[in-house]
């Protein structure tokens, strides 16, 4: 039956995430962006909340909670309200853990999932995006060629978060034209981690180019074993995660510019009391809510294990536009003040522009 009310348990997790975003992330995000790094202590604090490990079954050392895209979306929105870079860093291990949890072969689950149930943050990541115009996740240039009892991978990847510190990488490559996942452990011969990338936004998140040169891995490292993985579902989980994050980021920009507009006086009145500003804010509020509801619907489809490509791609396209509209207006409402780095809105605009590029960099 149609309902828009999260469960009590979800509300608890959300309020925990909200508190962390407000108390911890909001204190350091500007500094993180300027310095291009995130203090380990923050990551360790949030890791102990068990956001990634909570859905790992008991038999693999986890608490065995339900894995839900709706819950994941709710958390992602709250965290992204705090800061996008830190959120993507925190949730980065899920890029590896969730596909293994959902689609991994039994041996893969046994081998890898317990690693994410430790007290200490486990850096793991996934590599999907390729550094070229016209990148299409369904038509990858990186290839995986069966060779004897293993696979040989070749290609270039970029925007691989935390690649340098990750012990495990899930690399997506074309195997006979279809995208599949391949597990590559750190220090595998042929895997080269490049320099840390310099991006317009998400500057606090360490991302890397990696290259694979005749990188040979055992056959059992193919995600899902012989069955392979449902790559489209992974993409949909990513679209939903990013839409939720776009919603959270947009909400931050909306709230900040709204509060500013009520404070800032021009011609004897707060600028918010002029329709030119007030209507911008109203539209921002409406589109944020619309995106959130569409995200929930797509997440709900994923949780029912249904085909969610239409819903997930519609909301992702909508969220990409929405977050740009909202963050751009937030800068506009602050005017010159929005352009200077004393205020966060320029940071949110830079981060917001990235969503259209970030496919595969977050997952629920």
């Amino acid at each position: 039956m149609i309902s828009f009310s999260p469960t009590e348990e979800q509300q608890m997790i959300v309020s925990m995430a909200k508190q962390f975003a407000n108390d911890e992330m909001r204190k350091i995000y500007r500094q993180c962006d300027e310095n291009g790094e995130i203090p380990d202590s923050v990551i360790d604090t949030v890791w102990k909340m068990g956001l990634t490990s909570s859905s790992i079954p008991e038999e693999y050392g986890g608490p065995g909670g339900e894995h839900s895209a709706i819950t994941g979306s709710l958390i992602a929105e709250e965290l992204a309200w705090g800061d996008l870079s830190i959120t993507m860093h925190i949730l980065c291990p899920a890029l590896f853990a969730y596909p293994v949890l959902e689609m991994g072969a039994e041996t893969q689950k046994k081998k890898y999932l317990p690693l994410f149930c430790d007290e200490k943050y486990k850096a793991a990541t996934a590599a999907l995006i390729e550094p070229r115009f016209g990148f299409d996740p369904y038509s990858l240039s990186t290839t995986a060629r069966p060779d004897g009892d293993g696979y040989v991978l070749n290609g270039e990847k970029c925007y691989v978060p935390l690649a340098a510190e990750a012990d495990l990488l899930l690399v997506y490559a074309a195997e006979n034209g279809s995208s599949q996942g391949f597990i590559i452990e750190k220090d595998t011969k042929g895997l080269e981690i490049g320099e840390q990338e310099k991006n317009m936004g998400i500057r606090a998140l360490a991302t890397y180019e990696i290259s694979l040169k005749n990188c040979r891995i055992p056959k059992e490292n193919r995600l899902g074993g012989e069955k392979g993985c449902d790559f489209n579902r992974i993409m949909n989980c990513s679209r939903v995660a990013l839409s939720a994050m776009a919603t959270g980021l947009a909400k931050a920009a909306f709230e900040y510019s709204r509060d500013y507009a009520k404070e800032r006086v021009a011609f004897g009145e707060p600028i918010a009391s002029r329709q030119a500003i007030a209507f911008m804010l109203a539209e921002m509020a409406i589109e944020i809510d619309a995106t959130r509801l569409m995200t929930w619907e797509a997440a709900w489809k994923l949780d029912r294990k249904g085909e969610a490509t239409k819903e997930a791609s519609l909301v992702k396209a909508y969220a990409d536009d929405m977050v740009m509209m909202v963050t751009d207006r937030a800068v506009q409402i602050l005017g010159g003040h929005g352009y200077v780095r004393e205020h966060p809105v320029e940071l949110w605009l830079r981060n917001g522009r990235g969503f259209v590029t970030f496919d595969g960099m977050a997952i629920v």
């Binding site: 828009f4 009310s5 299409d136 804010l281 109203a282 909508y318």
Partner: protein, 398 residues
């Protein structure tokens, strides 16, 4: 629990409504668009005969939203011909007493077809509904109404067909401002109420949009909705006005649901036409690989979905008895504009098929536009959303 699954009853309601409009609305859509002010008597009789099987009354919840969408997918103008308590009923539900609900609506479902209407707009005031000049004067056991009301949806049918009713907004004390604004139930056929003219419109031509004149129209004292007292202590008192606004919280999501029905009709037409041409819209393809046509259709679909979910939420809240003033205006503002754009884009994409009166698409574009106007224009609803998100009063944000 966040859930989007329809109940079996809701699925059945949609199915019944869909069959109903496919059989009864669509075949006569064009005729009543081109024969404005002719009454689709067969449809009215049939809808009335089946009113219990295919409940067309406006229950205000998610199911109502789904049903209204379906009916307006069929034809929004004909939907507005279907007998029922309509906006008059919504006003009575929003601010009447239990006794009044029983008295005015208790037997609405019996006998001959009946309509309910709400008369708010005047020649001199549209969106600024607090500026109404129609008057209600207390005289013994009666109220005496005087004034002119325009753009009354269902106005002719509600005022003239026995058993119908018109909820009229009038001021009992002009000097009291909004606090003096009250609503009154005027039964059909009451002497002093007369239908002056029917509008000729851009769209929803099957719907009667009437001017009603109240000339010393006398109604029983008990026909006032809400408290007859005017609290004049403070001019900012807006209690009477709040009755009108509570009505809008109920009716705006309904208009939003109507809008998305029309929007979906246009979208379905576009998709079916493309399918016949062997063109499929690809989802999940990177933006730079999509055709311009695919981008357009995807944008239309996403906007339809956004409007629909905002609408469902506002009616879900209503069903949960949660205050939904902000959400109702969000849904109305979004849906009105979204379907205006969706239908206009659909006509553009379909080219000669879109512009020709041989098909219904051009009619849906004309029909869609009203949803961005009645029950508060898009701009008025944006203003309400803005005030709410800014926590501003009407004086702080004009």
């Amino acid at each position: 629990m966040i859930d989007f699954e329809l109940t079996p009853e809701q699925k059945e309601a949609i199915r019944i409504a869909h069959e109903f409009v496919e059989e009864l609305f669509r075949p006569i859509s064009r005729y009543y668009d081109e024969h404005e002010h002719e009454s689709p008597q067969e449809l009215i009789d049939r809808a009335w005969a089946e009113r219990n099987k295919n409940t067309l009354a406006l229950g205000l919840d998610v199911t109502a939203s789904l049903r209204i969408e379906e009916l307006c997918w069929g034809d929004a103008g004909l939907f507005l011909c279907v007998p029922g308590p309509g906006l008059g009923g919504a006003a009575i539900f929003a601010s009447g007493t239990k006794e009044q609900m029983q008295r005015f609506l208790g037997s609405f479902n019996e006998g001959e077809p009946k309509w309910g209407a709400m008369a708010m707009t005047e020649p001199g005031c549209g969106s600024d509904t607090s500026a109404i000049s129609a008057t209600a004067v207390h005289d013994g056991a009666e109220w005496v109404l005087n004034g002119e009301k325009i753009f009354v949806t269902w106005g002719k049918r509600a005022a003239e067909n026995p058993g119908g009713l018109v909820v009229v907004w009038a001021t009992v004390d002009k000097s009291a401002g909004r606090a003096g604004m009250k609503s009154f139930v005027v039964p059909a056929g009451t002497p002093g109420m007369r239908m002056e003219k029917l509008e000729k419109k851009l769209g929803i031509r099957a719907s009667d949009t009437a001017t009603l004149i109240f000339d010393n129209c006398r109604i029983p004292f008990e026909n006032i909705l809400g408290n007859p007292e005017v609290k004049k202590v403070d001019k900012s008192q807006t209690k009477g006005f709040k009755g009108a606004m509570a009505t809008f919280d109920a009716t705006r999501p309904i208009v939003a649901a109507m809008a998305i029905g029309v929007g979906r009709a246009a979208l379905d037409f576009v998709k079916e036409t493309l399918e016949k041409e062997g063109i499929t819209i690809r989802y999940g393809v990177p933006k730079q690989k999509l055709t311009a046509l695919e981008r357009d259709v995807i944008e239309m679909e996403a906007n339809y979905k956004a409007a629909k979910l905002l609408t469902l939420r506002s009616l879900w809240m209503m069903g949960q008895l949660q205050p939904n003033n902000l959400e109702a205006s969000m849904a109305k503002a979004k849906a009105g504009l979204a379907v205006t754009k969706i239908t206009q884009k659909a006509v553009e994409i379909m080219g000669p098929l879109g512009y020709s009166r041989k098909y219904l698409l051009e009619k849906w574009m004309r029909d869609a536009k009203i949803n961005d106007i009645f029950e508060g224009t898009g701009q008025i609803n944006m203003l309400i959303v803005a005030r709410r998100v800014l926590d501003y009063s009407r004086d702080q944000l004009k």
